[in-house]
């Protein structure tokens, strides 16, 4: 063991990891020594690639878990991402390919298995994750601590934006009496039927936006029966883009839901209150920085009369230019809001 450690010190490599390092604490509470100058980034957590992009280092991602087909908008926003190699899958890592990309740092979700190996390979590895807005902000700050001073300023901007929008939305929705809060069912998959229950970020934005989660189950992506949904009889249904079958568009999916003999009977469907969740650089509804847009979109969708002044196209364009360094056209913003891929 001493032999292994000794050799690592001596091998001063192209990344110069030994030269200047500082400690950053990750979401598991582990203190990780990372190089001060980061030029090459590996990211094994799908949603986190967009955090890196926001903090100005999207073009430094050299190894990723993403593919252009999985998040086409992020590859549109940061074309440099297409030079990154896909070395991770949901469950595995091609360690040799990862080594060849010479990463200075690796961000991963809480996966002790991958982290144990990459740490042995002397890649500084941060395990990150969040279930609440508070921890989302912490993930952004931690990432910025790794990426440097410019990133830190941007992280503060984002965290203030998120706080401000949460406060603005809540100041309106908190005054809505319980009886007027629609029950909202967030459907993750139609076939099989999978919905998001309580105790997660989906539940958090439904509540913040002035709704009540119709799904009386705990946890995210829970399989349920049609009968169960009929009993909940939600006022509003929001379909995640993962609910689209194969190559269906959002509209085709809406048509299928209306035509479905069981789902078609629900109040939400008969009252035409079924919506497609927007999807941008990451799914707005799940564990990414675009949560900040999601709360606004959801609030306006649930209570249009309360948010007449909110222009989601303008807000989306502003967010993309300020935080993702990309100028969306109106058409692009509309496509994101409709859950459509770029043309």
């Amino acid at each position: 063991v001493a032999l292994l450690a000794g050799c690592g010190q001596a091998g001063s490599g192209p990344s110069g990891a030994v030269a200047n390092t500082h400690a950053v604490t990750d979401s598991t509470g582990m203190s990780v020594m990372v190089p001060t100058a980061i030029t090459r980034i590996a990211d094994a957590w799908p949603a986190h690639n967009e955090v890196v992009q926001m903090l100005g280092s999207g073009d430094k991602i050299v190894a990723t878990v993403l593919k252009p087909s999985s998040v086409p908008w992020l590859y549109t926003v940061e074309p440099g991402l297409s030079t990154a190699q896909t070395v991770f899958t949901d469950t595995t890592v091609s360690t040799e390919r990862l080594i060849q990309t010479h990463p200075d740092v690796l961000f991963t979700d809480k996966s002790s298995q991958i982290a144990a190996k990459t740490t042995e390979l002397r890649i500084p590895t941060l395990q990150l994750g969040f279930e609440t807005y508070q921890d989302l902000k912490k993930v952004v700050t931690t990432t910025a601590d790794v990426l440097g001073p410019a990133a830190r300023a941007q992280a503060q901007n984002y965290n203030s934006y998120l706080d401000a929008k949460l406060a603005a939305v809540s100041s309106v929705t908190s005054k809505i009496p319980t009886g007027q809060r629609p029950s909202v069912l967030h459907i993750y998959s139609l076939n099989p039927l999978v919905v998001d229950g309580t105790g997660n970020i989906i539940d958090a934005w439904i509540t913040a936006a002035g709704g009540r989660n119709a799904a009386q189950v705990s946890g995210k992506t829970r399989p349920v029966s049609t009968e169960q949904i009929a009993q909940w009889n939600p006022d509003v249904i929001i379909l995640a883009s993962s609910a689209f079958d194969a190559s269906d568009t959002g509209q085709q999916t809406l048509d299928k839901v209306s035509a479905d003999p069981a789902l078609g009977q629900l109040a939400a469907v008969r009252n035409h209150r079924v919506y497609i969740n927007p999807t941008g650089g990451w799914h707005w509804d799940r564990y990414g920085i675009e949560e900040a847009l999601q709360i606004q979109w959801a609030a306006k969708t649930l209570h249009p009369e309360e948010f007449t002044g909110l222009d989601m196209v303008a807000e989306t364009k502003k967010f993309y230019s300020q935080f993702l360094h990309y100028r969306l056209t109106d058409d692009q913003a509309n496509r994101i809001l409709a859950g459509q891929n770029p043309t």
Partner: protein, 356 residues
């Protein structure tokens, strides 16, 4: 068959005249394994020259790091070396355990997870991952529950069989315990967080060596695997005698109960240790013993070492494919099945006499 075994038995009891093909086959297989190990150090996403491999290995073995580029050094010493060691160790263990079980249960369809070792280990690992334990604790839980599952099978099998622990009751109890384990695994998958826990459990169930580390994964399994291997080798003659049936074995001075218990213990140690480190890598323990019998016949004294050598080589080559052919890492268990299953069919069509 009984003629063959009788001959072998008399060969042990009388003046030893080793079967003629034994040493040539084993030597050839050992040389093939060595060659495979050497080649495995060179193949990967990029091919490393033999000279580079030699420089890295010599640098580490002598403690004088040379002027090797850091990426090459890490690739050969920290990526490939642990995987090669793991593949050899685990391939040999699973194949030897399978070979011993097929002899003990006199059934060619038997694999080392027959009595629930893999299922129990799967439950341990899935629970460990669900509870966010670290890698070492997950592996320990897998190993422990693998042993517990087989103990339960053995104990229940003995009780149900009214103290006779007949092979049939044991096998049936094993099937029940394994099914229970797989139900518990499904339950943990059902309640696991789909974003970070479920992928880890899924990965574990498919097996893989991509995240194997020396300290956390390999060092802990060396002792149980060596202990299991030694116990099987010590008992290889008794295994042959048992193939006559319990009564005949007893009349030849072999205690069938004790031999069975020791063989099961040895095979279980190896299987649980292998599965705890690499996940559920299927087919090795089923296919390789067949291939070994085709080469050297059913005599456990030859089939056991042949299986171990073949198993090590087989898993090493399959893992080399995983490392070098695919752009993203494919779980090892998928590939052992895809390579092993057709191979098994070819063997079935060719050599029905391999197991008479």
């Amino acid at each position: 068959v009984s003629a063959t075994v009788a001959k072998n038995v008399s060969a042990v009891e009388g003046p030893v005249s080793p079967p003629r093909r034994r040493w040539p086959v084993l030597s050839v297989l050992a040389i093939v394994l060595l060659a495979a190990i050497v080649v495995s150090f060179a193949v990967g996403v990029t091919t490393s020259s033999p000279e580079l491999v030699a420089r890295v290995l010599i640098a580490h073995l002598t403690g004088h790091p040379g002027t090797v580029a850091r990426a090459d050094d890490i690739t050969i010493w920290l990526v490939r070396m642990p995987r090669i060691l793991a593949a050899v160790l685990i391939g040999a263990a699973l194949a030897a355990a399978g070979s011993a079980y097929q002899a003990l249960f006199r059934n060619p369809m038997v694999s080392p997870d027959l009595l629930g070792a893999s299922g129990g280990a799967g439950v341990g690992a899935a629970l460990g991952i669900l509870l966010s334990w670290n890698t070492i604790a997950v592996q320990l839980a897998a190993f422990t529950l693998g042993l517990v599952a087989v103990l339960v099978t053995y104990a229940v099998g003995t009780v149900v069989g009214r103290g006779t622990e007949s092979t049939l009751t044991l096998v049936l109890t094993g099937i029940v315990v394994a099914s229970l384990c797989s139900a518990v695994i499904s339950l943990t998958k059902y309640v696991a967080d789909p974003d970070n826990k479920l992928p880890q459990i899924t990965f574990w169930l498919l097996g893989g060596l991509d995240t194997v580390t020396i300290r956390a994964n390999l060092l802990p399994i060396i002792i149980p695997i060596v202990a299991g291997m030694v116990s099987l080798f010590v008992l290889r003659w008794e295994l042959n005698v048992l193939s006559f049936g319990d009564e005949e074995a007893a009349s030849m001075g072999v205690n069938p109960r004790a031999v069975k218990a020791f063989v099961i213990a040895g095979a279980t140690l190896m299987t649980a240790a292998s599965v705890s480190a690499a996940g559920m890598v299927g087919w090795v323990g089923l296919v390789v013993p067949h291939a070994a019998r085709m080469l050297v016949g059913p005599d456990a004294r030859r089939a056991l070492p042949t299986s171990a050598l073949l198993g090590a080589t087989f898993l090493l080559i399959v893992d080399d494919l995983v490392r070098s052919v695919f752009t993203t890492e494919v779980p090892l268990g998928i590939l052992t099945a895809m390579v092993g299953a057709p191979f098994f069919l070819v063997m079935l069509s060719r050599g029905r006499r391999a197991w008479a």
